[in-house]
Amino acid sequence: MATFTFELVSPERLLFSGEVESVVVPSSEGEMTVMAGHAPVMAVLKPGVVAVSEGKGAVRRLFVRGGFADVGPDGLTILAEVALPMEELDAETLAQHVRDAEEDVADAKTDQARQAAAERLSQLTELRDALVH
C-alpha cells in the first residue's frame, strides 16, 4: 500500500514523523481519513483522537486538542495546540482540559467567543464520555 509522510507537531515538540498508510483526522466538519495522494486540503481540528496506521495493522492513537491539519503535495502535517500519545492521557489530564474549557466559556467577553468556547467544551466532554465508556 502506498505511504505518505505524516508529521504531528505541537508547539513544544515533534510527536510523530514518518511514513504512514493512513491517518484519521478529527476535523471540525467531521472525521476524515487521509491516504496517499489526498487532494490538498486545510482543515481546522476539534479535540479528538488522531489514529495513525503505520501498516501491518499497527495503529497509533494520539490525543489532540484543536489545531490544524494541512495536506499538501508532500504529505500531511498536523499543527496541534496540545497533543499527547493516548498512553499518556488519563482521566485526570482530560478533566483538566475540560476545566480549562469551562473557564474559557466563563471568561469569554463577546458572544462569538463564548459560542466558540462553548463549542469546544461540548466537543471535549463528548470525547471524554466516549473514552470513559
Partner: protein, 293 residues
C-alpha cells in the same frame, strides 16, 4: 604596601569568587543543553506555521476582507514594543544588547512623533529601560517562577497582546529578543508580529499552485490561525532567548573564571616577593645587629 595577611586574604577571596563563577559556568552549560533542545523541538512547529500562513496570506490579496492581524489597522501611530529579556543578570551583554536595540527603536519612533508603548517580559530589561521610559512601560511580565518555559506562558503573553490589539491600544507590535546562533554568538533581533510579516523567501518557497480545499472556509482558518501565530512567535522568541541567555552566561562566566585565575597568579607573585623581602630584611637586621656588638 599591604601586609602579608592582607595579601593572603585577598588571594582567598579571589579564589572563592573563582569557585562561584566556575560553578555558574557549569550550571549554565547544563541548562544550555536543555534550553537548546527545547528551542530545537519547537522549531518545526513555528516553521510549519509560517509556511501555512505565508501560503494563506499570499492568496488573500484582497485587502478589504483581510483580517486586521494580517493587514494592520491602516494606521501607524501607536507602536507596542515587546521586549523579552532574562530574569537574571551575570550573563555578559545579553540583556543590555536587547535593551539597547529596543531603546534605539523607541527613540527613533518617538522622534517621528509616534506613540510608543513597551511591554517587558523579564525583569532585567525592565530594570534597564525603566530609567528612560518610565511613562512608556505599560507592564512587566515576570517569568521568574517558571523553570521550563511552556507554551502556556507564551500563550498568556500572546493573549494579553491580542486583547490590547482588539481594544485598539496599538497599531504595530514588534518583538525584541536574542536569536541563538551559537554559544559565543547571540544576535539581538527585532521582529514585527502585528501585522504579520512574511519574508519573500518563504512565500516563494510555498508559492505552489496546488488548489487547496479549506474546511471550513479560508477566512475562518486564517482568523483562527493568526492570533495563534502571535503566541507561537512569542513562544519561539522566549525559547531562543532562554538558549541565548545560558550561552551568554556560560561565556561570561568562562571569562570571569579565567580573569580570576590571572588575578590569583599576580597576587601570589606579589605575596611571595613580599615574603622574601621580609626574610631578607630580618636577616640584614640580625647580621648588622651582630656586627655592632
Amino acid at each position: 604596601m599591604p601586609s602579608l595577611k592582607d595579601l593572603r586574604n585577598r588571594i582567598a577571596s579571589v579564589k572563592a569568587t573563582q569557585k562561584i563563577t566556575k560553578a555558574m559556568q557549569m550550571v549554565a552549560a547544563a541548562k544550555l543543553r536543555r534550553a537548546q533542545t527545547a528551542a530545537e523541538a519547537a522549531r518545526p512547529y513555528a516553521e510549519r506555521m509560517e509556511t501555512v500562513l505565508a501560503n494563506l496570506a499570499s492568496r488573500m490579496t484582497v485587502t478589504e476582507g483581510a483580517p486586521r492581524l494580517l493587514a494592520g489597522t491602516g494606521r501607524d501611530e501607536t507602536h507596542l514594543l515587546i521586549v523579552c529579556t532574562a530574569e537574571r543578570g551575570l550573563c555578559g551583554a545579553f540583556n543590555s544588547s536587547i535593551a539597547r536595540l529596543a531603546r534605539d527603536k523607541a527613540n527613533a519612533l518617538m522622534a517621528q512623533g509616534k506613540t510608543v508603548k513597551i511591554l517587558c517580559v523579564g525583569k532585567k530589561g525592565y530594570d534597564i529601560l525603566r530609567r528612560q521610559f518610565r511613562d512608556q512601560i505599560i507592564e512587566l511580565i515576570e517569568l521568574r517562577s517558571v523553570r521550563q518555559i511552556g507554551f502556556e506562558n507564551a500563550d498568556a503573553v500572546g493573549r494579553k497582546v491580542l486583547q490590547m490589539f482588539d481594544a485598539g491600544e496599538f497599531d504595530v507590535a514588534t518583538l525584541f529578543y536574542s536569536k541563538f546562533k551559537s554559544v559565543i554568538s547571540q544576535v539581538p533581533t527585532a521582529q514585527q508580529i502585528i501585522p504579520a510579516e512574511f519574508d519573500g523567501e518563504t512565500k516563494a518557497a510555498t508559492g505552489l499552485d496546488a488548489v487547496y480545499d479549506y474546511e471550513p472556509g479560508e477566512e475562518e482558518i486564517l482568523a483562527a490561525l493568526l492570533p495563534r501565530n502571535v503566541s507561537v512567535q512569542i513562544f519561539r522568541a522566549l525559547l531562543e532567548n532562554g538558549a541565548s541567555e545560558q550561552g551568554a552566561r556560560m561565556s561570561a562566566m568562562d571569562n570571569a573564571t579565567r580573569n580570576a585565575g590571572e588575578m590569583i597568579k599576580k597576587q601570589t607573585l606579589t605575596y611571595n616577593r613580599t615574603r622574601q623581602a621580609m626574610i631578607t630584611k630580618e636577616l640584614i637586621e640580625i647580621i648588622s645587629g651582630a656586627e655592632a656588638l
